[in-house]
Amino acid sequence: MTTPTDFLLWVRGPGFDIALVVFILGVIIRLLEVLVLGRKHDYSEPRGGELGPGLKTVVTRTLPETGSFKRAPFTVIGGYIWHIGFFISLFLFVPHIELINATLGLSWPGIASNLVDAVAAVTIVTLIAMLFSRLTHPVKRYLSGPEDYLTWLVTFLPMLTGYLAYHRMIDPYPLVLGLHILSVEVLMIVFPFTKLMHAFTFFIARWYNGAMSGRRGVQS
């Protein structure tokens, strides 16, 4: 018999275990695939350090370069809104903190649910706008392939189902909650095989960029 509660129990039980295994395994393999490659020793005499400038770039690349920001304000602002919105929804929504507390024992204060709700609504709208931009902006449309749309979808669905679950727009509740958890599991499973990996590798990429540049005496 398959009831919504069975479904919920499956997604938060075996479903979550499967997703977690794929996610952790995939992410670690992907990271090691990158890191183990290493790079050759650089014999040129350095002008500056690597570690400091590398770490600095990891932080400073969060801010856009003025000129390109002016040329593509939508991409930058949209990117900010949806990333920040996603993180607020993910990490400051009380039930999510509860989940992390119950599973990992880490806890921090959340913010009012209705505030998260408003943020989520803005994030969802922004994601839709970002998709529209991807479909219409000449560069983004040119660059985009199926993977870009897949990653958009698997990022969008947890936001959407989360919103639907919070507002109980689908009945019964265990079904919509289960769909929400399932969508997160789909995100976790797709994550290591797609450019969603940037969430981890951007640290490495920015560091190398900053380090290679810093070695030449330029803060990138």
């Binding site: 040129s44 660059l143 490495i204």
Partner: protein, 422 residues
């Protein structure tokens, strides 16, 4: 029989893979921001010039051979292979449509150093035989004759004679044990001999012990531009052995962008060991002489001036403060372009584009970026520190009918040099 093949190209791509590149490809989310930093996109608005797109063949090799997931996808036929057709199509993007200026690497939100990857991707293109005829020819001349422009020793000797006659200076050749060995670019020898004269005057005044090697005076390195480390190694080795033979302490890289990259940053890695000498850029040396009081200047330029930062010397070379310190000495009406220093826009002729005749039309088109930067400022004179930039800018100004002298910074310093009367 030797020759380029697809297999050799693919092999070269494989060889070039390392952790930075793998992290860059893993991180790209196709946000398109790099396009906004690239003059080939901003001036043509053709999305194919989006920097990250120029790496598609290299990216495929990474995905299909350096990720487990990509290997699986290849097995079930979900990936597209790198073919001769693909490389032929992309040749134009990676050679004609990129000057290796590295501006995109400064704006990528995830931190991808795209120009670093393009330099490495060119290794694959060369090995597969997809390099523009112009750069191939330059490379052949560089290896066989010693200069991409075909400048031989007698030509240099003739210029030296001119300079010596004009100034009464002696340009030292093959002086063993000199502190500094100066290199020149072919363009400086042929188009801008003022540079050689300036060096002679400044070094004499500062009491710098220097020399030029008759065996390796050429600073440029077509191997770097075409993207072949093997060819670059041959060329750089000549400089290294000459410098070591003359037992100099320093080698001076001239006012040439990619020469600095070749000798300063890539050279030791090409020969696989550190040098016995140090490499300094002429502007670094001049600034040192200025700081230590060994050279002094008098008077300032009357003109309203700006400085074009050569990408390879400034953004990718780290010679950031020196040009401005020197300019401050000799200018009274100096103004910076909106985007300057490490965010400056390329002249459009770097990275081998200037040697690639078929790219000329595109190069002229993207020069509009520099033109509009200059239009904003209303300056009389443009100073730069790269003979290639200088030539490209002169051509561009002429094309767009703009009257503006373009001068080398070293010459400007020499003009204001306070010289002891003998």
């Amino acid at each position: 029989m030797s020759g380029a093949t697809l297999e050799r190209g693919l092999n070269a791509f494989r060889e070039q893979m390392n952790a930075p590149i793998a992290s860059f490809f893993s991180s790209c989310v196709n946000c398109g921001m790099c396009a906004e930093a690239c003059l080939f996109y901003t001036e043509t608005e053709d999305p194919k010039y989006t920097p990250i797109n120029k790496l598609e063949p290299f990216r495929r090799v990474w995905e299909q051979e350096y990720t487990l997931w990509g290997k699986l996808k290849s097995m079930i036929g979900l990936t597209e292979p790198v073919t001769d057709e693909l490389l032929a199509e992309w040749e134009e993007l990676i050679y004609d449509g990129c000057t290796l200026c590295g501006r995109c690497s400064m704006v990528c939100p995830v931190g991808n150093d795209i120009s670093y990857m393009i330099r490495r991707a060119r290794e694959g293109f060369v090995a597969a035989g997809y390099a523009p005829e112009g750069i191939k020819g330059a490379s052949r001349r560089a290896v066989t004759i010693g200069s991409p422009m075909g400048v031989k020793l007698p030509a240099l000797q003739a210029q030296i004679k001119h300079v010596e006659a004009d100034t009464g200076l002696t340009i030292p050749i093959d002086v063993e044990g000199a502190d500094y060995m100066a290199l020149l670019s072919s363009m400086e020898i042929m188009n801008f001999p003022e540079y050689l004269e300036a060096l002679g005057r400044i070094f004499k005044q500062a009491g710098v012990s220097w020399t030029i090697s008759s065996e390796a005076f050429e600073a440029t390195n077509s191997g770097i531009q075409i993207g072949s480390s093997d060819i670059a190694r041959v060329l750089v080795s000549r400089v290294v052995s000459a410098a070591e033979k003359l037992k100099v302490k320093y080698v001076i890289s001239p006012e040439c962008g990619h020469a600095y990259t070749a000798i300063r940053w890539e050279g030791p890695n090409l020969i696989g060991r550190p040098y016995d000498f140090k490499v300094v850029h002429i502007l670094e040396l001049l600034d040192e002489l200025r700081a230590s009081g060994r050279i002094k200047t008098e008077g300032t330029e009357e003109d309203r001036l700006t400085f074009h930062d050569p990408c390879q010397i400034v953004r990718k070379g780290g010679v950031l403060e020196q040009p401005r310190n020197l300019l401050e000495m000799v200018t009274s009406d100096y103004v910076d372009m909106t985007d300057h220093r490490e965010m400056n826009w390329c002249c459009g002729g770097g990275g081998g584009v200037s040697a690639n005749e078929r790219a000329e039309e595109l190069r002229i088109k993207v020069f509009k970026r520099k033109k509009s930067q200059l239009d904003e400022l209303n300056v009389d004179t443009l100073v730069t520190a790269c003979a290639n930039c200088r030539l490209i800018i002169e051509e561009g100004l002429e094309e767009y009918r703009m009257e503006m002298p373009v001068v080398g910074l070293t010459e400007v310093i020499a003009e204001h040099l306070v010289e002891d009367k003998e």
